[in-house]
Amino acid sequence: MSSSGIGYEHRKSPSHPLLAEPDAVLACYNGRDIGLTEFQQDVAQLVNSLPASGHMVNLCQDRYHFLVGLTAAMEKEQVNLLLPNRSPDFIQQIQKQFEDLYCLVDDDFTMEQVPLVSYEHRTPQPVVKKPGLAYPPEQVVAIAFTSGTTGMPRPNIKTWACLTQVAQMTASRFNLLDKAKGSIVATVPPQHMYGLEASVMLPLQTGWKLHAGRPFFPADVAHTLANVTGPRVLVTTPVHIRAMLAELDVVPRLDLIISATAPLSEKLAQQAEARFNTRVFEIFGFTEVGSAATRRTVDGPVWHLFEKIRLALLHGDNVLETPYIKEAVIISDVVEPIDASHFRLRGRNSDMVNIAGKRASLGDLNIKLNEIEGVSDGVLFNPDETDEKVQRLMAFVVAPDLTPESISSALRNKIDAAFIPRPIIMLECLPRNETGKLPRQRLLELVASHVG
């Protein structure tokens, strides 16, 4: 039986920001404020509708719905499975490991052979047990999946301790606890680690208002910011910052922009700080460890790790040590340590693909390409990231009976749209060497001969 709830609340969090005032406002949802009482009612009602299962796949598009779902799952000690996308293939793959999974949805998503619970069908019932705002530190709140090089998704366990400590360190680093509290608006999905930490856990732990929407076009972002109470924090990515600079001359007073998922150039950060009269900070993190370090981009290349995280060298690898993840976590980006709390980023390792902030293993993507029926050989090429337009992967494929469109179509069910190669170049054979390898030099020559 869970030890969450009112009793635990009193023991653990007498100073929780949301308990500081009667019915503190938690979220801005469909243009109105939601207080703690209403939130707790929503959670209790959703709890009544959940199946007895160990694992929820929370597909809610609305951030407030997502939070209610997350909390309801925690109340029942269910684990939230965070998938990188909602492709049926991927969900089916995960279902092999977690047979009892079900999806919580708040739109018309459907899928065969997976139980669905609709957020709208919460069971109205008097609230018997008020959900608490604190849970046992070791309770597994979520499992975040990353694509491994071997083609099998890798699980990363996130405990309550892990998520709350990261949120608290983030809040402290950005001075969100001292000042007057406003709203946190995000363009990123709550299912992604960055979104979960910066747009769900961060407001929850600080008493800042969680904005339930997910504005998309720059004009949407400006409109949303204009309609939330300040001060305003925008949680976003370099792709969106670039788009906002291209389209918006001005935004309402914006106190902080947080960017993550891909490197932000100092030039874009400078432009954003000047145009929007704000400060731009970046978070460095990755799924395995969560958010780990920050920098104010315009200040230069040095990253500052959060207080409880240390950079160390272990068996020749740069690793991060945290109090909330048992093993040291290998950093897959290439870092240049300065000391235990500071580093510079030197680039990515050759297996990592980052397209508009979405990450995947190149090895895994190559496996998926070669799994397609009709593909006898294929390879993906990853160009260097730039500040300019998002560069897609290129593919060279040997598949006499297929077209590029049919290959794209087949990939669409297997991988996130961001990684679908463009262009797909059909060849009679790949220039592999005698041992069957495709040396980088030959791949580069192939690319050069096909680029205009």
Partner: protein, 88 residues
């Protein structure tokens, strides 16, 4: 295959140029889906397109709904929207 109006042809060319697509503007059918299936564009493309539309036609694309970027389903819908809102 239905013929594109002049604006549809121009918008189709904008799509091809902006997104570096392998198809020609003529190959984009007005009622074929742009996103997901059909042309297979995604949300990254939608943002790029929004920037290009803003630059060329002088207005900003907006979503219908706070949560779902009501990304214009096909070339005809996008062209009609541009026709209605263009400033330049």
């Amino acid at each position: 295959m239905s013929e594109n109006t002049p604006l549809e042809a121009e918008v189709a060319q904008l799509i091809v140029d902006t997104l570096n697509l392998d198809v020609t503007a003529q190959e984009i059918v007005p009622d074929e889906p742009l996103f997901g299936e059909g042309l297979g564009l995604d949300s990254i493309d939608a943002l790029e397109l929004a920037m290009a539309v803003s630059k060329k036609y002088g207005f900003q694309l907006r979503s219908d709904d706070e949560n779902n970027a009501r990304i214009f389903s096909n070339l005809k819908a996008l062209s009609d929207h541009i026709q209605a809102h263009r400033v330049s």
